[in-house]
Amino acid sequence: MKRRALWSSVLIAPLALYGCGSAAGPDTGGGGESGTLVVWDWKSGDETAKSYIEQAKADFAKAHPDVEVEFVAQPFDQYYNLLGTAIQSGEGPDVMLFNGGGQLRDRTDALLPLEDYLADDMERLAGWEAFSADGHIYAAPVTLQGHPIYYNKALYAEAGLDPEAPAATWEEFLADCAQIEEKTDATCFALGNKEGIGIQFFLSGLGSGVLTPEEYDAWIAGDRDWTSPNVKRLFEMWVEAEQSGLNNEGVNSTAMFNDEFAIFDAGEAAHVIGLMSDVGHWKDFGEFLGAENVGVMPAPLANPAAVPSLPYDGGIGYGVAEWTEDPALAADLVRSLSSTAALEAFYADAGAIAADTTIDASSSGPATAQIVDAIQTGEPALHVALSAETLELMGRLSQQLLSGSVTVDDALAQLAESDQG
């Protein structure tokens, strides 16, 4: 009997300890105003995000001095797998980082609606759309991600063009490109479509210059007419740019990350449709070309009825798990993580366009200032509204369009079927 008791206790002991070792810690949330909040992300381990985290912690500590905040940096390629496991077991971090769009919308069951807690931040921050689903807001945006058209002002000057007056229409743009190719060694566009992402940037970067505002809104709302003349025009421009030699050679075997951007960095192409945050953006380009030589232009008009706008969405943002013990406390941490001081540090160190529209970005060069200015009138990017399957198909078709093995009409018919089928 004694032995049996011993065995039972050996077997039971781990069960009793179970939970103590969980990432959330034994006193998650904390009763009243003490305890620990656990945050999961993939950013806090980066050197460039250090001051951002410190600022956010300091902001939070002002209101809640006795609550400890623990940041757990997960590897990004495993992040959503780990999060999925935590969500299935119903325990894990109190606050977690998300990419805007599908990754967040797939997991709203595990998230707390935050609109009541974040009401005061609605005006100050931009990019809410990507963190909203079914009329609720599930995370507060930290950075914005978008697709400005960058151009190299030094090459413009070399070609005898006015660096401060980029083309406003597609015809003028083609004329400028012809002049650049004639007077310099550079091509018009740096383009890498090996992964099939080039078409996504092209679609979003130039889309607002082709679609009418009504068409644009309908597209974002899910009502997409793939056979409309303007959508067709957009895909014809994709083919036209390749056939009239605007792109660098070997587009289908050039990787966007980072060969395409390297071509622009090296001054071998005059334009590139890049990103706003993290990579392939104003900060990278400025380091190679000099911040004063990096310009941002609105989409050239290929349709007089179109209204060019900056395509952007919420990049990353923090949300609150529905299992957290004290939702108000966790929501307060989310507010601190998107406070002006913290976001200012993130913008300055990590080279990301922060979601806070009150940050003064003029010191980072003309491109940054232009991007921040354009945020006010910006619209969600066209390709972000598409499903993963349609995007994959579009990538493959875009390569076929470039090699001429499929027609625009045929490609659009396939895309329509994938999008609506």
Binding site: G250, S253, R396, Q399
Partner: protein, 318 residues
């Protein structure tokens, strides 16, 4: 069986002249016999359990999973829907066509190391150096090889520069759907033929040198020596290399594809493996990926059985 034999044996054992032998034969006292009857099962159990729990059970789970849905239909039985989707998907069909292409290219993949091994065996000048150099790529990981050839085969890379120098237009090695698969297979062969070469050299070591000498004395030319002496003498080695090369092509091209083409351009370099990874990891369609895995399993089963048949026939010839 044992129950019948025990009572017979016991009296014999009592008056046995050679008790040691009896004990060792393992049909001892009744108490022991039960343990010893179970012994083989106990000893086999770990291996059987490992195969059962970690191989067969997951296999059955995977096949079962392939008959359920993805996304909204997660967990529901959907019959053969996934298989219908698969054989309707141009990407999957392209990947199966590429498997066929690999089978067609197999003779090339076997002939190259065979020919080079022949030269080394014939002691061409510098054969010692070549023996080491040929094996060298086999120690590099596919990721590194892929990265190297990405640079070499880039549109503005050194290979095209070289072609340009002799007046041949640039080839978009990894961007042209008609060329890319051949480029990747060529790199795979370059990267792996060293191992087959070593096997061939080992085969040559067993070859009777006097036969070759005799053929030469009779005035046979090199091609004739290869055809009538070396190839028959190496038939078992060649069959072994064919089998291992086929397995290698079907199962270890993922790294190269991932680094060099990512399945593109235009989906022309998909292999079933890559397709499975893509559907499960990138498109969040694990059930469809299971169906593709099941089909790949079927293909490998056919290939494997064919190989066993070939090997068995060789054994009989021996």
């Amino acid at each position: 069986m044992t129950a019948a034999s025990t009572p017979v044996r016991t009296p014999v054992r009592a008056g046995a002249q050679t008790p040691r032998r009896r004990v060792r034969s393992g049909r001892g006292a009744a108490g022991k016999s039960r343990a010893e009857r179970l012994a083989p099962y106990v000893l086999v159990a770990p291996a059987a359990l490992i195969i059962g729990v970690f191989r067969l059970y997951p296999l059955a789970l995977g096949v079962n999973f392939s008959f359920t849905g993805d996304g909204d239909r997660n967990g529901q039985a959907v019959g053969f829907d996934n298989y219908a989707t698969l054989f309707d998907d141009p990407l999957f069909l392209a990947s199966m066509r590429n498997v066929g292409l690999l089978v067609l290219l197999l003779p090339v993949a076997v002939a190259i190391p065979g020919l080079l091994a022949t030269f080394v065996y014939m002691r061409v000048p510098g054969h010692r150096v070549y023996r080491g150099v040929y094996f060298f790529p086999a120690v590099l990981s596919p990721v590194i090889i892929g990265a190297i050839f990405n640079l070499l085969l880039a549109f503005d890379g050194p290979v095209n520069a070289l072609l340009g120098a002799v007046g041949i237009g640039p080839v978009d090695w990894l961007g042209d759907p008609d060329v890319a698969m051949y480029a990747v297979v060529a790199v795979h062969i370059w990267a792996t033929f060293g191992m087959a070469l070593v096997v061939f050299l080992a085969g040559f070591a067993t070859l009777d040198a006097s036969l070759i000498d005799a053929a030469r004395v009779d005035g046979a030319s090199l091609p004739r020596v290869v055809r009538h002496v070396i190839v028959p003498g190496l038939s078992r080695t060649i069959q072994f290399v064919v089998v291992t090369t086929m397995i290698g092509m079907l199962t270890s091209m993922f790294g190269l594809l991932y680094v060099m083409t990512g399945g593109g351009p235009e989906g022309s370099t998909y292999l079933p493996e890559y397709y499975i990874w893509f559907q499960q990891g990138q498109m969040s369609r694990p059930a469809l990926a299971s169906a593709a895995s099941t089909v790949l399993f079927g293909v490998m089963l056919v290939v494997g059985l064919a190989q066993i048949a070939v090997l068995r026939r060789t054994g009989r010839e021996d």
